[in-house]
């Protein structure tokens, strides 16, 4: 539509539009199958710049982008040893040496696209003789392929300056003098530019065009432990399986020791023929690296795991290693004179959890709420009780044992009965609250004595039909 075009009249980035004319790829796709046909690169180095975007369809994609980028970097190490991260969204590969191995520029790009897809990312790729040029082109969303240093400046010129990720204030100031593209910036007098916009930015422009060196820190490999071991024969015995896991756990211990880390989660997979693998996940209360302890905990877990078929392979996958608070060993055993109970109870919690499942063990905390059933909550074991919500109120006469839900009582002559008549032994305590979450209560609580003299906690509903309920028992 013509109207759309005229919007450019007021648009500050009008000159950029013309940049659409830049050819997207110099090499026609059908020729990429023949690596020999790719034109030789006329430059000392050739960088593949990748700008990744999270796949918008995945939930919380934005937060996961950095881990995904690291996964991508790991995959990219297959293509070249020189891989560098350019956070938050970039990756650089020096590919001059590997160009011919992967079918030229197109072949490489194909490999990289596949790797991106594997990591749940969408990537924009650009090839250029300098890392900053490759990265900037990718960040500008232009899949440039520049194999010749002599062409570099000409091809970079139409790119918007925003691709350099300079501070927004600086870009605004450049926009004020009508400079919005890399080419316009490169035309400014060097001294005048440095004086006004900073020597660092001039250096950036030099790196961009290859007039200054641009060393990049090499990416180092994987961070998580993941090993699989094929068994020499199929096993159904849990003890035997635990024995087979031993070497893997030893490897894990060494892996973690090298990083001075421990794990908080450890997944064990047991592979069956023709069936999906059985899996169990250990969740630990504190970072752990000790193979013996892990074996012990895994043993507890395997004891409760039902195996549908014999196992032919096992695999350990660790969660992200976390730094371990290293401490010197204790002189005293827990429970002994001078020994702290904390480590011991932590161990107990871990064993209970390993045996009963993580959800079955939790701590207790007071919650400030007038409704008795809402006045407590489950916490992670080990968390300090009463933390956060403030100390528990000294509430008058609350029973230690609260029924999971109030039990309706029969009544006779407006008085409640529970295995016989009940006698009210207190004045009413009125609780009316909770209008905000749909669990509103309006009750008068009493202490009642049953025929055995037991003290019960009762209430009568304030609203018709005014039923009586038993809500707790005093100790």
């Amino acid at each position: 539509m013509r109207a759309q075009k005229s919007a450019d009249l007021f648009a500050p980035d009008a000159p950029q539009r013309t940049a659409q004319a830049v050819p997207l790829a110099p090499v026609p796709p059908h020729r990429s199958a023949a690596p020999a046909a790719a034109p030789p690169a006329r430059c000392a180095e050739l960088w593949l710049g990748v700008r990744v975007l999270a796949d918008a369809e995945q939930p919380h994609a934005a937060q996961k982008i950095l881990p995904a980028l690291r996964r991508l970097a790991t995959l990219a190490q297959r293509l070249t040893p020189r891989v560098a991260l350019a956070p938050p969204d970039g990756l650089l590969l020096e590919v001059k040496g590997s160009l011919h191995l992967f079918g030229g520029a197109d072949g490489l790009r194909g490999e990289m696209d596949a790797a991106c897809a594997h990591c749940g990312l969408r990537g924009t790729l650009a090839l250029a003789p300098t890392p900053l040029a490759a990265l900037s082109a990718a960040r500008a969303g232009r899949p440039l392929v520049v194999l010749d240093s002599a062409q570099l400046i000409g091809r970079l010129s139409p790119l918007p300056l925003t691709a350099l990720r300079w501070p927004p204030g600086l870009l605004d100031r450049l926009a004020c003098i009508g400079v919005r593209t890399i080419g316009q910036a490169l035309r400014l007098p060097r001294a005048g530019f440095a004086h006004r916009f900073g020597a660092a930015q001039l250096k950036d422009l030099d790196r961009l065009t290859g007039h200054a060196s641009d060393p990049r820190e090499r990416f180092e490999g994987r961070m998580r432990f993941r090993r699989r071991r094929e068994l020499s024969f199929e096993l159904a015995s849990r003890t035997a399986l635990l024995g087979e896991l031993g070497p893997l756990l030893g490897e894990l211990e060494r892996f973690l020791a090298a990083r001075q880390c421990g794990v908080l989660t450890l997944e064990c997979r047991l592979w069956h023929r023709g069936r999906p693998p059985s899996r169990t996940v250990l969740r630990l209360a504190a970072p752990l690296a000790d193979a013996a302890r892990l074996a012990q905990l895994l043993g507890e877990r395997l004891g409760t795991l039902s195996l549908p078929a014999p196992v032919h392979a096992c695999e350990l996958r660790s969660g992200l290693p976390v730094p371990r608070g290293l401490s010197s060993g204790e002189l005293w055993q827990p429970g002994e004179h001078g020994g702290s109970a904390a480590a011991g109870s932590l161990e107990l919690i871990e064993r209970l959890r390993a045996r009963l499942g993580s959800e079955a063990v939790h701590g207790l905390a007071c919650v400030q709420d007038h409704r008795p059933e809402a006045a407590w909550g489950a916490t992670e074991p080990g968390a300090c009780p009463g933390e956060g919500s403030g100390a528990c109120r000294g509430v008058a006469s609350r029973p230690l044992w609260l029924l999971p839900s109030p039990r309706r009582l029969t009544e006779r002559g407006r008085l409640p009965r529970y295995r016989g008549g009940l006698r009210l032994a207190s004045e009413p305590e009125r609780i009316e609250t909770g209008g905000w979450d749909g669990a509103e209560v309006a009750r008068d609580y009493y202490i009642g004595l049953d025929t055995h003299g037991r003290r019960l906690w009762l209430f009568r509903e304030r609203n018709p039909p005014h039923h009586w309920y038993l809500h707790g028992v005093f100790g």
């Binding site: 013509r2 109207a3 075009k5 005229s6 919007a7 450019d8 009249l9 007021f10 648009a11 500050p12 009008a14 100031r173 004020c176 003098i177 009508g178 400079v179 316009q184 035309r187 400014l188 007098p189 001294a191 005048g192 004086h195 006004r196 916009f197 919650v367 400030q368 709420d369 007038h370 919500s389 403030g390 109120r393 008058a396 006469s397 207190s426 004045e427 009413p428 305590e429 009125r430 609780i431 009316e432 609250t433 209008g435 905000w436 979450d437 749909g438 008068d444 609580y445």
Partner: protein
């Protein structure tokens, strides 16, 4: 239950002595009126309103209690810094004064909204009864201290709220009572009038603590017992003697707010004179000045009548106070003008409070504000130049002292927006959802939360959270409003003869150095306290500035109210609706009326000012008046008496005074009753009728022989006035300013526009429209320039000797005034050689320089904006020790030594964007001129073309949205003003169309409208059928519509 069933034959009597209203902000959940009504309905002997360290709600309670015949006790709940909590009840007038002083001291010692009290602060408190509010557990030492400090005046408040240990608590307090010898009394710690307000009270608590309700925990009350409980219920809970004690305390509290006697300041009367003689002296001086040839007998008689009435009611000091303030402003050369019927009295005319000649202004109803029966004080509003009102305020503070002067409060009530925002937070909605929920009620939606709105905003109307939240929102929004905090009134000053803080507590306002009383305007009215409204009016500033500009350029001096009167050209201009910038008659509704009404004289302007108001429009007075004025309809009166009242408006009541006067002459009301009628009219919408007054009105008219039909019509018209009736007394003063500003626009357009620009922000139009209008009237407008412009806009001689308007540096966004001052000082020494020279000699910051570059003000030194920014970016500030000579040498070199960069020139579009962003206006082409090609392509017409089309023509037009209006009286109709390079077009959007294209209507900066042209007596409107948001075409262009409602 069983047990305490011994029947007491004597009925239970009870007075609640501890009760908070919603004027204990975010604690109390009921309005004072509801508390009083409920207490009366329950047969309480009395009710003490004891808001926390406040008496803000007491007047409302007092008025309600008087109506219902319930005894009201004034008190306050106080929490000391040490934790001691008590209620103080005023026993008598003296005790009330002491309580007010205590509250004042506590409030003044803390930031706005808070208070601070220590035990020593209680030293001055006497003639009050103290109820000790024991903590949990009760601390006997507090009781002992109180017993010793206030012997015989302290009770232990026993508040049994079914906490589960009421009996135990009663026993503990009884024991303390025996130990200390203090008697016990029952109390309710009331926070709401009925139990049903509990949920609201919970929500308020959460809002007060700024946490979601779900996390408010123990800060909420465990149950809803803090309401006004039935006496029988109390009888089952409390021992009888504790209930009886409440009644005996109530009986000993004899103070009533009616006892407050206000005394006017006395110092304005010279020794040897009385207020009466002094006022007469000043008035007679005025008579000689106003009527040098001698006062006509009719005027003399009227003057004597006024003076007699003033003397009878003892209002002389009030008039003397107003005179004193006005005289001060005159001495300082600050333009001011009074308004209101008292202001337009002959006395005020003589005192110089107003320039409206009462003869010219027709018979204004002096009785309106001075009512013999109601004994209310007269009310005079004085407008001052908005930029110099502060000088007047400081004068008042100096003259009467801070302990005698304070500003009236304004009670800020919950609005739909704030209610939803606060409740949303309390219900745990995140900030984004809160904003969306509050936003779902755009400003013009009124109070109704519609399910459709919610759905539009992405909410499920059936969402249980909303289902719980919305009823509470309704409670907050419903009449008579739910107070949220106190703020200061725009300009209502309370001045007293003695200490003000013994009359009403005074607290800190948000503005440093300002104090407000705890009562608002209505409260002060109800108690008959003097208030002078010192208001700020932008037009007065603009007029003074225009007079000064003209004097500097031409040497002629003009003065307010003294411009050549009744000039034909001025009225012709007004009749063409050529009134951009003219006071009061510049709005589009006014502009639509002007060509129909065609004002020919001053009094027409008075009518014009008053008629384009929701009152006359809703009362359907406009069309009958126009028809009669144009001779299409005969003017008739049912009686001579009515003719007397309505003849000057052709038989159609237009002013509030006329309505009241009609009630007097046609229905036999006394002036006092008529005044009551006015108040009832103001509130009928919210209170649902004017009750017995309606019957009295109709009966009175029937008795005087008026037809049923006439009576009904008058009644309907009165209802139409409701909130919005405009008093003739105000219109008369405003019309003077309208005439003066119109005269200036007609004869001195350059000076007038410059003055308006120099007085911004004010008025209806933004600088862009003012400048465009001036240029359309042939004024040459010159751009902002560092080598020519002053801070203000100025006049420069153009080639033909006429004044040209030079835009001032004040328009430059981001340029600070002190930087500009240094720039002007440096320029006076010599002209700037370049940007570097400017930067160094004026010591401008980078921010100032960039602001100038962005405004295009450096064009003379650098060329286009790109070069200006390049130069600015290259400047360096001198180091502190550099020698000026060296600096100058370096500066001279620096500007030339560096190579010029290759910079592209900004495009026209970019320049326009930059003009708007920095100055808010452009002297270049209208932005739409650049888009015209595209707009033509889309078959859109220019606004200028449209006005030439036929009635009923189908039109498509696009323009920048200048204004949106949704007048409350217009039944959901939105009025838009669109502008393109050819002119402006007014668009009417009916409610249904507005609903259909709601987003486009609200959000568009550039709007395309399809609709039919409607012509009526020279006024053309486009009635919209379809709206399309075209803002994308504008790119980064910053335009902002002014939205009114």
């Amino acid at each position: 239950m069983g047990g305490q069933c011994c029947p007491q034959t004597r009925p239970i009597r009870y007075a609640e002595l501890h009760c908070l209203s919603n004027f204990t902000f975010l604690r109390g959940a009921s309005h004072p009126r509801d508390l009083i009504a409920q207490a009366a309905a329950l047969g309480y002997t009395a009710l003490a309103l004891t808001d926390e360290c406040s008496v803000s709600g007491i007047v409302r309670a007092h008025v309600a209690a008087k109506d219902l015949g319930l005894k009201l006790i004034v008190g306050s709940e106080l929490r000391l810094a040490c934790g001691l909590k008590l209620v103080a009840l005023a026993a008598d007038r003296h005790g009330y004064g002491r309580l007010c002083r205590l509250i004042t001291r506590a409030r003044r010692a803390a930031a706005k909204g808070a208070y601070h009290l220590t035990r020593t602060d209680l030293d001055d408190l006497d003639h009050c009864f103290i109820l000790w509010l024991p903590g949990e557990p009760p601390c006997a030492a507090e009781a002992r201290w109180l017993a010793q400090r206030f012997p015989g005046e302290v009770w232990i408040a026993v508040e049994l709220l079914r906490g589960g240990a009421d009996r135990e608590r009663l026993e503990t307090l009884r024991r303390i009572g025996r130990e200390t010898g203090l008697p016990l009394v029952a109390g309710g710690d009331v926070h709401m009038h009925v139990r049903a307000r509990r949920r609201l009270q919970d929500a308020l608590t959460a809002i007060r603590h700024n946490v979601p309700i779900a996390q408010a925990g123990a800060r909420l009350y465990p149950n809803g017992e803090r309401y006004l409980r039935e006496r029988e219920r109390l009888g089952r809970l409390y021992p009888r003697e504790l209930l009886d004690e409440t009644v005996s305390i109530a009986r000993r509290c004899v103070f009533c707010l009616d006892e407050l006697r206000y005394e006017y300041p006395r110092e304005l009367v010279p020794p040897g004179e009385t207020p009466g003689t002094h006022l007469r002296k000043l008035t007679e001086e005025g008579v000689r000045r106003r009527w040098p040839q001698g006062i006509p007998p009719a005027e003399r008689a009227a003057l004597e009548h006024e003076l007699a009435l003033i003397a009878e009611l003892g209002y002389e000091p009030y008039f003397l106070t107003v005179h004193d303030i006005v005289a001060f402003a005159r001495r300082r050369g600050i333009l001011c003008q009074g308004r209101g019927s008292a202001a337009n009295s002959r006395v005020c005319y003589c005192l110089g409070v107003t320039a409206v000649d009462p003869q010219r202004g027709a018979q204004l109803m002096f009785e309106r504000f001075i009512s013999k029966e109601r004994n209310e004080p007269p009310d005079i509003d004085i407008d001052f130049e908005h930029e110099r009102r502060e000088e007047v305020i400081q004068y008042v503070y100096d003259k009467y002292g801070r302990e005698r002067t304070a500003i009236a409060a304004t009670v800020i009530m919950y609005r739909p927006r704030s209610a939803l925002r606060d409740l949303g937070k309390a219900f745990g909605l995140d900030a984004e959802r809160c904003a969306r929920l509050a936003g779902a009620l755009q400003w013009w939606d009124g109070g109704n939360v519609l399910t459709q709105r919610l759905r539009e905003a992405g909410f499920d109307p059936a969402d249980p959270v909303l289902a719980r939240l919305l009823p509470l929102a309704h409670e907050l929004i419903a009449f008579p409003g739910f107070p949220r905090h106190l703020s200061q009134h725009v300009g209502g000053f309370v001045i007293s003869a003695g200490r003000l803080d013994e009359l009403v507590p005074v607290e800190n306002a948000a503005m440093a150095g300002r104090t407000v009383v705890q009562w608002d305007k209505d409260d002060l009215d109800a108690l008959g306290l003097l208030k002078v409204d010192l208001l700020a009016l932008g037009m007065l500033t603009a007029l003074r500035k225009a007079f000064e500009l003209i004097e500097r350029f031409r040497g002629t001096r003009h003065a307010l109210g003294a411009l050549p009167a009744e000039d034909r050209r001025v009225y012709e201009m007004i009749s063409r609706a050529d009134t951009v910038g003219v006071f009061q008659i510049e709005s589009r509704a006014q502009m639509a009326m002007l060509p129909r009404l065609r004002p020919k004289e001053y009094y027409d302007l008075v009518i014009e000012v008053a008629i384009v108001r929701p009152g006359p429009i809703q009362g359907d007075m406009v069309h009958p008046y126009l028809r009669r004025r144009q001779g299409h309809e005969a003017v008739s009166y049912p009686s001579e008496a009515v003719k007397d009242v309505l003849s000057r408006t052709l038989g159609v009541p237009i002013f509030q005074e006329q309505v009241m006067r009609l009630a007097v002459v046609a229905a036999g009301f006394t002036p006092g009753e008529a005044d009551q009628l006015r108040r009832a009219m103001g509130a009928w919408k919210r209170t649902g009728g004017i009750g017995h007054l309606r019957a009295q009105l109709l009966r009175g008219m029937a008795a005087r022989g008026y037809s049923e039909e006439f009576a009904q019509r008058i009644y309907q018209q009165m209802m139409g006035f409701a909130d919005y009736g405009f008093p003739e007394a105000h219109a008369a003063s405003f019309a003077l300013l309208a005439y003066d500003s119109a005269w200036l626009k007609c004869y001195e357009p350059a000076a007038f526009t410059a003055a308006l620009l120099n007085s911004q922000p004010m008025g209806f139009y933004a600088p862009a429209q003012l400048v465009r209008d001036a240029r359309a009237h042939g004024v040459q407008v010159r751009p902002v320039s560092v080598s020519e412009s002053d801070w203000d806009c100025t006049l420069e001689p153009a080639a033909d000797g006429a004044p040209a308007l030079r835009l001032g540096l004040r328009l430059v966004k981001g340029l600070r005034s002190n930087g500009a001052a240094r720039l002007l000082e440096a320029r006076r020494q010599r002209a700037f050689a370049g940007v570097q020279d400017l930067a160094r000699r004026a010591g401008l910051t980078r921010g100032d320089l960039e602001a100038l570059a962005a405004a295009g003000a450096l064009a003379a030194l650098s060329g286009n904006r790109h070069f200006a920014f390049w130069d600015v970016a290259g400047t360096e500030r001198p180091l502190p020790l550099e020698r000026p000579a060296a600096v100058a040498a370096q500066a001279a070199g620096a500007d030339t030594a560096q190579p010029l960069p290759l910079l592209t020139a900004p495009t026209e579009g970019q320049s326009i964007v930059a003009d708007y962003a920095s100055l808010g206006l452009t002297l270049g082409r209208h932005p739409l001129a650049l888009l015209r090609g595209a707009l033509h392509g889309a078959q859109l017409r220019g606004a200028g073309d449209i006005l030439r089309l036929e009635q009923g023509a189908w039109v498509r037009v696009a323009g920048i949205v200048l204004m949106r209006q949704r007048p409350p009286a217009a039944n959901g109709v939105t009025f838009l003003t669109l502008e393109d390079e050819t002119g402006q077009v007014n668009v009417i959007v009916w409610e249904r169309v507005g609903e259909q294209y709601r987003r486009a209507l609200i959000d568009s900066r550039l709007l395309e409208v399809h609709g039919r042209l409607q012509r009526e007596e020279g006024v053309a409107h486009l009635v919209a059928r379809r709206l399309i948001d075209r803002s994308a075409l504008l790119g980064k262009l910053l335009t902002r519509s002014r939205d009114f409602h």
